[in-house]
Amino acid sequence: MNTADHRALPKPFQYVLLVLISALACGLGYAVLSLPDQAIELKGLVEANLEASGVRNPVTAVLLNFRAYDTLLEMAVLLLALIGVWSLGATPMRRGADPGPVLSALVHGLVPMMILVAGYLLWAGAHAPGGAFQAGAVLAASGVLLLLTGKRLTARLTGRPLRIALLAGLGAFITIGVIVMPAGGMFLQYPPSHADGLILFIEATATLSIGAILTALFLGGRTVSGGER
């Protein structure tokens, strides 16, 4: 199953494909090179409004404030992918792999540190490179490590608490977006005085949710609540 199994594309088709692909590459390259040297940039707008956004990292400001709606939709896309994966079947049977002593010791040492690193990345996202997605990814990596050593959530936690953790990010985002409407006006228009606290709260819940969603995506199946796993 792993050997090279190119579809037996006939030779003339392969050459035609190569020619077409090369033409596409040349066209795209010409398009890129013919663009003007100075772009119509939004960087000036971002820099001008950076103080009012509540954070000092311009990428975080764009993600969580100026284009917050895109980030909200992205959390919804993550949830949709998880719903798709969950609808395809229950958790595959555990193969009973026994993690060796090295892996167990490594996981015991690494997972707490990774949680700390995730917390730092979340906090540092306001003024340095970092943010909710990076922190959530490190949390998910620690979750994947735990899954690989055979640990699973106890049955009590796989029902409602798991669902709450998965939905917390999107729920907090929408809730805050609605709450600020009487004060500011539009959905997700944070008042500039409270923007930093709101962004931190949204990022914290988003970190938890992203970590949980990515770990659940790795597990690949619907967790059976109340069962023996």
């Binding site: 199953m1 792993n2 050997t3 090279a4 990292n57 990428v59 975080t60 595959p92 193969r95 990345l121 490179p129 970092g130 943010g131 997605f133 990076q134 990814a137 490190v138 998910a140 990596a141 994947v144 990515l214 995506l217 790795f218 690949g220």
Partner: protein, 103 residues
């Protein structure tokens, strides 16, 4: 100063060539496991490229998500695919109909 710029240019050129070469080897490797491992290496090289493009946030995300989590997902899918294939071939070679795993 000229030597530093020249070194930077050489480094960037090497990075770009490594990126393209890793991608090509990952896509054309006959062994799927080697292809996935090369893809993880490709993701890590992409993280270096993001640092060179002054995008440290993307570098963090690419290293963790693009290389790490996607690589883990691919390896897990590969392992489960192999197990499914082995199970099917076991069913075909044994006469009994049960799928009792004896490994």
């Amino acid at each position: 100063m000229e030597t530093i710029t020249l070194l930077e240019r050489v480094f960037d050129g090497l990075l770009m060539l490594t990126l393209l070469w890793l991608a090509w080897r990952a896509l054309q490797s006959p062994d799927l496991f080697k292809a996935v491992v090369l893809f993880i290496a490709f993701g890590l090289t992409m993280a270096l490229v993001w640092v060179r493009l002054q995008a440290p946030d993307i570098a963090l995300a690419e290293a963790a998500i693009g290389a790490g989590l996607t690589g883990a997902l691919l390896l897990k899918a590969l392992a489960q695919s192999n197990e499914l294939a082995d199970r099917v071939s076991d069913d075909h070679t044994t006469d009994t109909g049960d799928t009792h795993e004896h490994r």
